[in-house]
């Protein structure tokens, strides 16, 4: 047993550097997913009817094709076809972000639809344009309501980011695998990798919970 602990301790600095890469991929993916997801949701709820078709296709595609297929498709195929020479890190963040956007859009759509319709009417009655009403009235409330769902999505994207290992991104899983095959200390290293993911999940969901409390609208019970 002490040998296993030694193996973990030896590899720990190397694994922790990997956790920074994991965090980078996840932050990039969640940020991109937020931007695209909100746009898709607004398009679905407030956009003209024909816009629903491409948005529906987008969501169907990115929710339907497996992550690994998409990573290879973009890394080895689409991006080079477009003449883009992106790093494996960037491709992983972008692909995870594109997928997450499909899921996030439905979190935001649900939140927008749950708002009382009368508030939008009141905003219009005050002379606000639809864009102004969405920015000042709809989104501040919809985004608050989206935090629990978003926290869930964070934990999924965090775990999915381990698949970026297949592109050779030096994140936690890739590093654990690399050390394990060199030292034959498989069990302790994968235990360590798993624990790093558990801690990142805890920190992220905890942080989002604190954000939820911080921006809670006074007068509403938990």
């Amino acid at each position: 047993m002490p040998a296993s602990i030694d193996a973990i301790l030896d590899a720990l600095p190397y694994l922790l550097q990997g956790s920074l890469v994991t965090i980078g991929v996840v932050l990039g993916a969640m940020g991109l997913g937020l931007l695209i997801g909100v746009s898709l949701a607004l398009g679905q709820v407030y956009g003209p009817r024909p816009l629903g078709v491409p948005i529906g296709l987008y969501i169907w595609f990115f929710r339907g094709v497996p992550l690994l297929v998409l990573l290879f498709l973009f890394y080895f195929g689409l991006f080079s076809l477009m003449g883009l020479n992106l790093s494996a890190f960037a491709v992983a963040a972008i692909v995870l972000g594109l997928i997450s956007a499909a899921y996030q859009s439905q979190i935001f759509r649900g939140a927008i639809l749950s708002l009382p319709e009368g508030q939008l009417k009141a905003a219009r009655a005050l002379g606000m344009s639809d864009t102004r009403a969405i920015v000042s009235v709809v989104l501040p409330q919809a985004l608050r309501l989206s935090i629990p769902g978003w926290s869930n999505e964070y934990s999924i994207v965090l775990k999915d980011s381990a698949v970026a290992y297949a592109l050779g991104v030096a994140e936690v899983m890739a590093r654990a695998h690399f050390v394990a095959t060199r030292t034959y200390e498989h069990l302790p290293l994968y235990v360590a990798a798993g624990m790093i993911f558990l801690i990142l999940t805890f920190l992220g969901t905890r942080g989002l919970r604190m954000l939820e409390d911080k921006v809670r609208i006074p007068g509403y019970s938990r």
Binding site: G118, Q119, G127, S136, V137, I217
Partner: protein
């Protein structure tokens, strides 16, 4: 402004949902300082009429003039400017739940009228004082009573300096004690000369203050006249029947 140009003139306003007409050929006008009361059974078209007037519901036909200028709702900027001059009060308040009472009143001043922050704030505080909510400006809608919420919404509309106010059953969602505080605010507005069109079942209030009553049923304006006439000796049987019931329920005057 010339005496004979009404503040608001509505001509032939109509709206149908599918085959069902909900508003048919409504025409009337309101002069400066007048308070007109819309009465009639639920589903009779009062709410649709009020919402068509500021194009929250798009009418199928009809024309509207504010101070003699025809409104062209297809021109967005003109529509937004027109809506600022037409204050709207809803039955269920429709306050912005994420903003304090102060911010509810301030937001359109800042974002629509583009007033500087200090000025917008000063004006918002003034309007909230006017409706008796000086001590509640920092509260959120969920921390206010129904009557307080409705008064915030009145302050929010007043801050835009409306030429006319549309009130859609402003006291229907309130219990009797709260109704009084809201009606008192509306009464003061009327006495200050605010031009208003108000849907309500508060007969006593209407008798005291209304210049004219409009009875609506099945999407049509059935009868128009002075409140006492409409309530007791209306020409139309149906108007008399409905008003008789209202009087039984709420009493003739306070």
């Amino acid at each position: 402004m010339s005496e004979d140009v009404p503040v608001l003139r509505v001509e032939g306003l109509s709206k149908r949902y599918g085959e069902k007409p909900v508003l048919e050929d409504a025409s009337f006008s309101i002069r400066e300082g007048e308070l007109k009361i819309l009465i009639g059974p639920s589903g009779g078209g009062k709410s649709t009429l009020l919402q068509c007037i500021n194009y929250l519901v798009k009418p199928d036909a009809g024309r509207i003039w504010l101070d003699g200028d025809e409104v062209v709702p297809a021109r967005k900027r003109e529509l937004y400017a027109y809506r600022q001059k037409v204050g709207m009060i809803f039955q269920d308040f429709n306050l912005f739940d994420h903003l304090t009472a102060l911010a509810n009143v301030q937001i359109a001043l800042s974002k629509v009228r583009k007033l500087p922050r200090d000025e917008a704030r000063k004006r918002a505080v003034m309007e909230l004082e006017r409706v008796g909510l000086k001590d509640h400006i920092a509260k959120y809608p969920a921390q206010l009573s129904g009557g307080q919420k409705q008064r915030v919404s009145i302050a929010r509309a007043l801050a835009m300096d409306p030429k006319v106010m549309l009130l859609d059953e402003p006291t229907s969602a309130l219990d009797p004690e709260l109704i009084t505080e809201v009606l008192a605010v509306i009464r003061d507005l009327g006495l200050e000369g605010m031009t208003m069109l108000m849907a309500t079942h508060q007969i006593g209030f209407a008798l005291d203050l209304a210049h004219e009553m409009i009875f609506m049923e099945d999407g049509r304006i059935v009868e128009t006249g002075p409140p006492r006439k409409i309530l007791s000796t209306a020409d139309c049987d149906r108007t008399r029947e409905f008003c008789g019931k209202l009087t039984d329920l709420y009493g003739e005057a306070r």
